[in-house]
Structure formats: C-alpha cells, structure tokens
Amino acid sequence: MSTQVHANLTEEQVTQISEELGEPEWLLETRLDALSALGDLDMPEVIRTPGRDWTNLDALDYETLVDPLDWEQEKDRVDAEGVDVLSWSDALAEHGDLIEDHFGSVVDPQRDYLTALSTALFSAGTVIYVPEGVDAEDVKIRTTMNSRSLFNYTLVVAEESSSVTILERQTTGEQLDGEQYYSGVVEVAAGENSFVQYGALQNLAEDSYNFQVKRGHADTYATVDWIEGNIGSRLTKTSVETRLLGDSSESKIVGAFFGHEDQHFDLGSRVWHEGEHTTADLVTRGVLDDAARSVYEGVQDVGREAWDTNSYQRENTLMLSEESEADASPKLIINNHDTEASHSATVGQVDAEDLFYMTSRGVDPESAENMLVEGFFQPVFEEIAVDELLEDLDDLIVERLQA
C-alpha cells in the first residue's frame, strides 16, 4: 500500500481544497507535506500474532475510492453560549493564530498513512474554542455523510478553567450506494484545570470504512473524557487516546459497541501517564452477533516520572453467535513503581442461569436475551454522564436487538 503511486491525488487538488477554505500558507504547507509523505508512511498498526492479522486494513484501495474534491455533507451544529463552534473557514478567519498554535500539536499529521491522508485532504470539520473560565453547555455536532469519501477534522481548544461537553453524531445520507470512506481526526488541547468531555456516536452505513483518531492532551488539573459508541460501518479502526501531561490530570475512556452481520470493529483505548498524581479509567463493553468481529487494544502506559499513578482498565465482550469472534489485548506498560494499575478482560456468552431465571418468570427467550444484552451494557451506560448520548445509544442498541 505504502509503495503505491497516488496517481489520482495531486498537489493541485490539495491546493484547491486549501484555497476554498481560505487557508493560510502554513496550513497548505502542512497538507502538502502530509501528501508527499504518503509514500513513506505505513498503515496504522494492527495487532499480529503468529499466523494472524487481527485487522486487514488493506481491504480498501483508499486512493482510488477517495475523491477529495467531491465531498458533500450536512453539518448541524448546536453551539452553546460563550463557545465558538465554527467551520474551518470561519475559524481560520477569526482565530488564525490560535489554530496555528494547536493544529497538529496533539495528533501528529504524519503518524501513519491514513492520518496523513486525512490531514492532506480534510475539508469538513469543526473548530471549537472555549475561552478561559467559560463553563459551557453542551455543544452538538451532527455530521451526515453524503459523498463517497469524507475527511473530517475537529480541533477543540479549551482554555484555563473552562468546561465543555461535545456530542458528535456521524451518519450516512440515504442516497449513497457502494463503498464509502469516512476519516476523522479529533484533537483536544485541554488547558490547565479545564474539563472536556467528548462523546461520539458512530452509526455510518454498513458498507462504509471508518478510520478515526481522537487524541487529547490534558494539562495540570485538566480532565479529558471520551465516550465512544460504535454501531455502524463495515470496518472501523479507531484509536482514542489521552496523554496526561499535567500533574493531577485525569481521563476516562468509555466505549460501547454492538456488531452484527460481517461488521469488524478494531477499537483502541490508550492513555499515557506522564505527570504526577494522574488517574485514568478505561471501560469498554461490546456485544457481537452473527459473523461480527471485534478487536480491542487497551494500553495503559505509565512513564518514568509519573509518580502516584492510578490506572484502571476493564473490557468485556459478549458473544451472541457461533460465528462471531472477539480478540482482545489489554496492555500495561509500567515504568514507575509508585503506581496502582490493573486491567481485566472477559469474553463470554449470555449466562444460561440468568436466561433460565428470566424464562421461568414467563419472559419469552428472545425478549429475555434482549433484556440481558441491554443489561450487559448497563455498567457502561452508568459511566456515560451525557443523557442525550446515552438515550441515543440505548435506542440504537434496542433497535439492533429487535432487527
């Protein structure tokens, strides 16, 4: 893949996108650098064990599928008082310096092939700026994908002692047929004592390929929380990450997924403890039906100077069918002994005794199983502090159970 000549991606296209958004020179340079680096970059890492690749990212010919100039979306942004929620062109006009300071500072534009592709070609997206001391209400973004490919870039800058909750929903418009590619990058720069909660609910069409990198930097006393719901797409590859750079910073990564038919989810949750007195909690629960497959990688990395660290991780998968498959690798990388760290992972099926109990109370087996599956998600639901996201996620899960 990385050796291909990208015949249908040109500097002219990238320049055209950049011009349409009215971008300054530095951003165009960043894009062109990313474009020219494509040939040297590898695909995002996937886990390999003897004889097996857990995810095959080469199934799609990205460069043929992608048409960078033909992009169409519907964006529905609900902003909150005191917060700037802007498209890229507006944001660049209003906050050019702020963007220059933060763009690419959290997610390396060339961390891998797909991220570089996203950096070079993004046209859709949102900049969210929360000024110092602003305690904002919920910001909502709804993205409907209406083209074969869509590159979305979200930059969140939360200044000192500010607070914001962002809800992002991704869906596909009805008129689309065939394979699609959605690529999303989210960067969160959380300033001192700020609080950023970023919830995303992905429900793209089931013939789409979905690649997302979400990464936050937490300054002193800052909190970066992520909520990840994955329901749609055929193949999803995500990495949700927090670097706890400041002392006493915190992060929680909560994930829920429900795969059916031939869906494949490759989900990563990663946290780096770099400051002192930092805390992280990673909680993911997922259900697999039909021939669906999940790959989960969780990484808790505690640095040499990360004194007094607390780090926890839980991952549970429920398998509803014979053909489903669950792979998991929860990793601990500990370089400081002043740490309390644990992780646990389980894979199992609906408990036969529970099912028997329910049916003995007169509930038919199908409803009983559905109730138990909904109940399985409960510990994750309890971690989701945003009611609206919780309700939407619950609706989608119920809908899938009844399908």
Binding site: T317, E325, A328, L332, H337, T339, E340
Partner: protein, 476 residues
C-alpha cells in the same frame, strides 16, 4: 531444618557464577554456522541419515527467516551474532552417551557439578539425573525401579541411536517444527544433547526426573533438545535447572522442548533458569495434550541477559487441561520477556495461567501471552492472572496479553495488577521486629509462593535463595 536441606544451604549460589573451569574439550566446531558445521556435528555423533537431513532443512529455514525485531517492547537481539557462537563443544570424555557412575567423570566436571549440588540432589532420591556440560550429557542415571517398568531417561543423542523410531516420529515434527521461529530453526540445525524421557502406559513416575544444563565456555551456544513422551494414563514430573559462569562475551541458549501428553496422562515440566547475565535465552517449548490430559508448566526465570520464552500447550483432545505458573525476576541490565501460549482446539478444555514478575534496578519484565480458543472448542474456559511487583522507577514492567476467541460458548477472563511493595506491609513486619530488608524479602517470598509450592523442596529453597541473593543490598 532437616538434614536433607543442609547441602542446599551449603551450596553457595553466588559461587556458581564466579568459578569457571579451564575449557578442555575433545572436539570443537569452528565459530559460525555453515552447512559444513552441521555435517560435522551430525558426523561426530554418528547420526542416521534422516537426522542429518532434518538438520540441513532446519539450517535452510534458519537462513531464510528474519530475526524477530518487530515485537512491541521485545529484548534487543542485535548483539546475537550467530557467527560469533561456537555451536558445538564435546567435553573430553571417553564414554559416549554419558557416564553411568558419578566417579567415572573427569575430575573437573565432577567438581563443577559438585558445586552445583547435582549428586546431592540425586541422593535426595530424585528418580533420575542428567547433567549437560557444554553440548553433551556427561552423566545420566535412572533409578533401577523405573527402568524395570520401562521408563526411559537417557540423553537425546543416545535416544537417536537406541530409540530411533520414537525419536523419528516425534522429533521436531508435530510440536516444534523448525519453521516455528528463527531460533527453533537454529536449534533444529545444531541441537546437541538434552534429555529423552519415555513413560509407558499406566506408569506413574512419582519422583521427579531432573536435568541440569551448564555452559562453561566463553562465546558458547547451548542447544539441548528435550523430548518427553508420556503414554496413556502415565504421570511424570521433569525438572530442569540451568546455569553458566560469567564471561564478557555473550552466550546463547536456544533449547527446544517437546512434550507429548497422552490420553489422561499428566506431565509437569519445571524450570529454574539461572543463566549468567550475559546469556541470551531464546527457547521454544511446546506440549501437545490429548484427551483428558494435563500439562503443567512451572517456570522461574531469574538469570540471563535477555529471555524470550513462551511455553505453549496445544489442547488437542477434549477435556485436556493446561496450567502455567511463571515467575520472572529482572535486575540491572536484564530483560525477561516471558509468558505463555495456549491453543484450545477441542471442547471442554481448560487453562489457567498465573504469572508473577518482579523488576528492580532498571530491569525489565514483560508478560507476553496468547490464549487462542478455536471455533468449535465449546465450553472452553481460560483464566489468566498477571501480577507484577516493582521496586523503583528505573525498572519496567509490561503486561501484553493477547486473546483470540472464535467460539462463543466460552468463559474467558484475564486480570492483571501492577504495584509496589506496600509501605503498610513493610511497616507491619518492621513493627514485629524485622529490619527493612528482611521485611521486603519476606514479602517477595510470599509473592512468589504459588511457584515455590509447586516445586520439590530443594528447588523451592534454591529459588528463594536466588531471590534473596538478587535482592541483597539492593533495597532502599
């Protein structure tokens, strides 16, 4: 303390590293690895043609396979230059296939193993002792009562000659093919020595069978092969110990272990590994367990500069069970990358993995494990537990489990914790009159107890002494 243990107290563990014998050998191959070297080894051993062919095939595979370099956090193997290794040294002993009596051994070899406590261990009624010095077994004995029952315990070279059919069928064919990894291929090409254990049907060898391996020459590679065949309803416990003196150049140990656990048989394989800290310890160990069989791996890794070792079990028959207990301790300059692999290929199979690691003074431990449950392995259950203890922030403790679950009627659980020695625990013990060092040693001894209680008393004592030694003066 009983008199049985006294000799262990007298065996100075430290002395095992400091003394080294002047190298004296009958036959030594040139450094490096060529087809000629492989032919020489095979010829010197007077091997049948098929074994030479297997060696040459393995050599070809070795030359084609890349070095493993892309595992996250793996030990640095760049120093391992096969061309610098002397693959085969035959000690200067008249008798091929080992001496029957201890007294027949040349004095300096006797002396070496005396220091290691080998004859004493045998006196302590272990059912057989094999000791490998450099590349070949120099002393092997099996208590008569087991021999009468048809139990075979002999060195591998002798087995190739005397039990050819059994060896031909099982040697690097089903369990560890040379294609498994680069070092298995290397092993297949230049293996020498090791033990062969055969336990017939319905036979329980109720005392452990023991082997001791030692490298005495600088820049030496040791590639011993252990093949254990336990027939239906049989039972055996095999123990291996390893050590080498300190030299400035590096040593390479690349052993191969294959265990065939027959229907309803029970095999325990215990290792106390204490190679000197310039040794690269890159082993491949694999067991195949038939219906209702039980395989147990008990491993303590204390020595070596770098270890990459993941004993694995293929649960082939329904109802087969695997238990892993592994303890790793890494001090200054050590990278102990160890774990377990279990393949559940049949219904009603069970596995448990218990891993404990201790890292200190800049040492690095890594649990790397794989549990694979194949489609159709209904009612399989597995439980993995990893605990790590850390002493300082120069050390590293990694846990990297991989779980591949292709069957839904399963019960899979993985748990891991990492922590430091609790201040409260230390305070409690101090308030009972122990000093700081003793308190911490006691906590560590308690931490590794699940391993030591699986070992015969003399090994348990040795483990504890090794750990004490490792911890002496290093505690703040």
């Amino acid at each position: 303390m009983s008199s049985d243990q006294d000799h262990l107290e007298e065996t100075d563990t430290e002395a095992r590293f400091e003394f080294k014998k002047e190298e004296k050998s009958a036959f030594e191959t040139e450094k490096g690895l060529t087809e000629e070297t492989v032919r020489l080894i095979s010829e010197d051993k007077d091997e049948p043609e098929w074994m030479l062919e297997r060696r040459l095939r393995a050599l070809e595979q070795f030359q084609q396979m890349p070095m493993p370099t892309d595992w996250p956090g793996q030990p640095d193997l760049s120093e391992v230059d096969i061309d610098e290794i002397v693959p085969y040294i035959r000690p200067d002993i008249e008798t091929r296939g080992g001496a029957e009596n201890w007294e027949d051994l040349p004095e300096e070899i006797q002396d070496t193993f005396d220091k290691l406590g080998i004859p004493e261990a045998e006196k302590n009624a272990l059912s057989g002792v094999g000791a490998q010095y450099e590349s070949e077994i120099v002393y092997q004995n099996m208590q008569e009562q087991w021999e009468e029952q048809g139990v075979i315990f002999c060195d591998m070279d002798k087995a190739v000659q005397e039990h050819e059919e059994l060896v031909k069928e099982h040697f690097m064919t089903k369990a560890v093919p040379p294609s498994d990894n680069k070092f298995a291929a290397l092993h297949g090409a230049i293996w020498s020595g090791g033990s062969f254990v055969y336990v017939p049907e319905d036979t329980s060898v109720d005392m452990p069978v023991q082997a001791y391996f030692r490298m005495n020459s600088e820049g030496m590679g040791q590639f011993e092969h252990t093949l254990i065949i336990a027939e239906e309803n049989s039972e055996v416990h095999y123990i291996e110990g390893c050590s080498a003196p300190k030299y400035s150049a590096f040593n390479l140990h690349s052993g191969g272990v294959e265990v065939f656990v027959g229907e309803n048989a029970h095999v325990q394989y215990s290792t106390v590994q204490n190679w000197s800290k310039n040794t690269y310890n890159l082993n491949t160990k694999r067991a195949i367990a038939e219906e209702d069989a039980t395989m147990e791996w008990v491993s303590g890794s204390m020595g070596s500069k770098a270890t990459m070792l993941y004993p694995s079990t293929v649960l082939k028959g329904p109802g087969a069970t695997d238990n892993h207990i592994t303890i790793a301790m890494a001090g200054e300059g050590q990278n102990i990358d160890t774990g377990a692999k279990v393949y559940h290929n049949a219904p009603d199979t069970k596995s448990t993995i218990e891993s404990k690691s201790i890292s200190k003074d800049g040492g690095r431990t890594n649990y790397r494990g794989l549990v694979h449950i194949a489609d159709g392995a209904e009612n399989a259950s597995t439980s993995v537990e990893c605990d790590a203890l850390m002493f300082d922030n120069e050390s590293t403790s990694d846990t990297m489990p991989y779980m591949e679950i292709q069957e839904n009627k399963v019960d899979v659980a993985h748990e891991a914790t990492v922590g430091k020695i609790g201040d409260e625990d230390v305070f409690y013990l101090q308030s009972r009159g122990l000093d700081d060092d003793d308190a911490k040693q006691m906590i560590v001894a308690g931490f590794i107890e699940p391993l030591t209680e699986e070992l015969p008393i003399e090994y348990a004592v040795e483990m504890n002494r090794l750990i004490e030694l490792e911890m002496e003066g290093s505690l703040g």
